[in-house]
């Protein structure tokens, strides 16, 4: 087994600072947290949405409504002969029709996950608008999708992995695999 080279992109502190800055940006550009809802994409985006909601509450005294979507049933890559992904939960505790939604994910890569999330949200209703917030934009888009709010742009090779750990001793790391994808 060849070794994987790993380099730090954000420390745990820097990650928390990035979340606070993203919260501030949300308020500056979208208004108070009662004017939008956060929807995290399971699993990384769900954790990030929760931490963003904490940061918004600390900043503004109001907590936004938070939901999450598991996009597994909407993926375009289910038939690869690999084992099927474990299904997660979708919970949208608000009327989707007419809502202003900030879709939240930890890493933006090909854009396919975001496309799948759009499809799922549309099956729940017709949102007034959707903005996209990501902690890390690592490039290599395969669809015309761009984030409205970005914590950090990271330059990567296609075969690299970006690992996000929201824990107290976590952070964001870039893993360079010796060969192959993911």
């Amino acid at each position: 087994m060849e070794t994987v080279r790993s380099s730090e992109v954000l420390t745990a502190d820097e990650l928390q600072r990035a979340i606070r800055r993203l919260a501030l940006e949300l308020v500056e550009r979208l208004g108070t947290p009662d004017q939008f809802v956060l929807v995290g994409i399971v699993t990384g985006g769900e954790i990030l949405a929760g931490q963003l909601a904490d940061a918004l509450e600390a900043l503004e005294g109001t907590r936004p409504v938070v939901g999450h979507v598991d996009i597994t049933l909407y993926r375009d890559d289910l038939y690869t002969g690999l084992e099927k992904p474990v299904l997660g939960e979708t919970a949208l505790p608000f009327p989707v029709s007419g809502a202003g939604i900030v879709l939240v994910d930890d890493v933006l890569f090909t854009g396919r996950t975001v496309r799948a999330a759009f499809d799922e949200l549309w099956d729940y209703g017709r949102p007034a608008w959707i903005k996209l917030l990501v902690l890390v934009d690592r490039g290599h888009r395969e669809l015309p999708i761009a984030a409205d709010f970005v914590g950090r742009h990271v330059s990567t090779e296609r075969s690299d992995r970006v690992v996000v750990d929201f824990g107290a001793n976590g952070g964001v790391a870039l893993q360079q695999a010796p060969e192959g994808r993911t």
Binding site: D77, Y79, G81, K84, T113, D123, R181
Partner: protein, 319 residues
Amino acid sequence: MSDSTARVARRKDMLGLRGVSREEITQILDTAAQIRRVNRRRVKKVPTLRGRTVVSAFFENSTRTRMSFDLAAKRLSADVLGFSAGSSSTKKGETLMDTARNIDAWRPDCLIIRHPSAGAPHMLAKAFDWSVINAGDGIHEHPTQALLDMLTMRDHLGTLEGRTVAIVGDVLHSRVARSNIFGLTTMGAKVVVAGPGTMCPPTLEALGVEVRHRIDEVLEDAHVVMMLRVQRERLGKAVMTEVAEYARLYGLDLDRLQRARPDVLVMHPGPINRGVEMTPDVADGERSVVLEQVSNGLAVRMALLYLLLGEDGGDGDRG
């Protein structure tokens, strides 16, 4: 939800629960518990199996199982077609293999089959590369019924480990009972069966169950009482005690139910012969979970279609 991180190898077919591991049963039940949320939405459909073709071939009459499979495939966006015994060309003398070769020529992705002969689904699963789901083969197995029963039990009991399930009726000739026995014992439940000697012979103990002959002997400790349907169409007169006699000795009424745990679950695979296996006040009573079984049947079949169907080109990238 419960933890199903245990990685389970992908299988092509679901032919029966004999030999299926605890991890895999857990994975199917966990998947069903998530996927059933789709059925409560306004848009009760996900694009997961778009472009896939599911054929249901019912060589025995069935209403609810066939409808449940059809709906499961449709809720996942698959295209569904099929036939039931009455309209089938087997009436014109076509062999099962010939029917299957014809279906194969349309390049299906999955065949759901119910057949009076035990082993018919297994034969097709070996001969063709599409997935086969056994919807009941003779008196052998009916795995999706057992899976929906186990999901219903797990919803109420939290776990199947250490729980006692009583199965009452014609256990010997019941594919529902056999699949449940295989699944439940794998999951660590204790299975006790009761019925007339001709329907519940002591030889059943080889399957890892306890055999009793009076229903009262199994009621007291049971967390679940599963009443099997009296299959009049499957039985010769020699085996069958009079229906009224059966109802008196093995039917579940409110009096008998008093002897069970207050939180006992009453289950029945349907369709119920009211007044035979159970009285209407039990069938419609507060301990009955019969309609939950029907809902969970849809969920389990969606989960299996999701887990079984697969394999073509496509790109594995995420992000």
